[in-house]
């Protein structure tokens, strides 16, 4: 908002009737013409629009707590919840037993590194795909596929962007993770290596070191695995690191 832009009472009321849609056709035509011609005027109108929205927004905000009082209070009942869950799980107990049996046969017949890898590899849940992200459409398009478990498609889409933006940390990170899920650890490493070169405030930095450590573990390079895991501050990497050191 410009300091020098005075708005008279009449002008304010005219702008308001425009925003509220109470102008007649002729007034509206004149007004629109002025909007097209006068950049300053346009800014004034935009400013008033935002102000009105701000007033309403804040008014609503203060009323929400009042509204919330009418909502019947939920008691957080632990016991009942557990009962329901227990019943729910009992149905699957038999199936689970079989899976565990098969799993343990496989578990005891694989080498230690693979075991640790399988135990500690947990998929990154991905980013929320909000609807208003228009500028990053391709990236989020890939994210939708990723979340659906279509890792191959996600990888294809992201690789296209990656060629144009090799320095995109978030992209490199998710490409690396997706490649790891897709059992392509050796291809994942270069992307993860690139993502950990990011600035310190990179939000996935700790996770990226963690996955990079896991990837090296899977590839059998214990030294590099330990080195990267030690650079990650997550709890999981600390636990894994201590297991590797034992």
């Amino acid at each position: 908002m410009k300091d020098n832009s005075n708005i008279s009472q009449e002008l304010l009321e005219i702008i308001e009737s425009y925003i509220n849609g109470t102008m007649n056709t002729r007034e509206l035509n004149d007004f629109n013409q002025l909007l097209d011609l006068d950049e300053d005027f346009k800014t004034k109108v935009e400013d008033i629009k935002i102000m009105l929205l701000g007033i309403e927004n804040q008014s609503l905000k203060t009323q929400l707590d009042e509204l919330h009082k009418d909502i019947p209070k939920t008691k957080v009942k632990e016991s009942q919840d557990k009962k329901v869950r227990y019943l729910y799980y009992s149905k699957f107990a038999a199936a689970a037993a079989i899976i565990i049996a098969i799993g343990s046969i496989w578990f005891f017949s694989t080498p230690k590194n693979e075991k640790l890898y399988a135990k500690y590899f947990k998929l990154d849940p991905g980013l929320p795909t909000t609807m208003s992200t228009t500028n990053n459409f391709d990236f989020y398009d890939g994210m939708v596929k990723y979340k659906h478990g279509d890792y191959k498609i996600a990888i294809e889409k992201w690789k296209v962007i990656s060629e144009k933006q090799p320095e995109n940390d978030t992209l490199n990170y998710f490409l690396g993770v997706a490649l790891m899920v897709d059992k392509n650890t050796s291809d994942a490493i270069p992307f993860l290596e690139r993502s950990v070169e990011a600035e310190d405030e990179f939000i996935f930095l700790n996770d990226a070191y963690y996955y990079l450590g896991l990837a090296y573990l899977k590839e059998g390079n214990i030294d590099l695995a330990k080195k990267n895991l030690s650079l990650s501050k997550t709890k999981l990497s600390k636990t894994l690191l201590s297991k590797l050191n034992n």
């Binding site: 701000g54 007033i55 927004n57 509204l67 939920t74 909000t130 208003s132 700790n206």
Partner: protein, 189 residues
Amino acid sequence: MGKSVQYLNQLELINAIKSNDSYTLERFYNDNYKKIELLVLKNNGSLEHAKDVYQDAFITVWTHIKSNKFTPKNETALEGYIYRIAKNKWIDILRSKSFKNSNTLNYEILEFVGSDDSESNDLKNNKLKLTMLAFKNLGQPCKELLNIFYFEKKSLKDVASKLKIKESTARNKKYRCMEKLRAMVLASK
């Protein structure tokens, strides 16, 4: 749940929300809360978290409706929309570093997530936030008057009778209050 607002079709519902119809806002608020509370409680959150995330989502939905960013595609579109927004906000909070480090309610996270709406017009958002803050700090008489006129959408005549002043006084006062608010926004920049 949800029945009470369903007699309105989506377009009617949206128009009623646009005009801040208090009954509709209240119903819409109450009808959609429990689902989100359940979601948050089931996913490591507290009642307090649920309320904050929900209110944040509620304001976002309302703002989107106001600025015509939302068009309903089916009869329960708005209900689904507020649920998705709240869910995304909750996921953001769960994934934020500070949440992982501490499980106590951290208003900074909520603030941060709430502001990060991934909208391109940051400048506009910033102006909006400044206005909201200025309005919050505006003196009570001005606040009341502007609230009745702009939020409750009452006519100047109604404003005047409610505040027991003359209509012409109400008009002048309204203008002066707006000027004051504008000045506060400019000063806070």
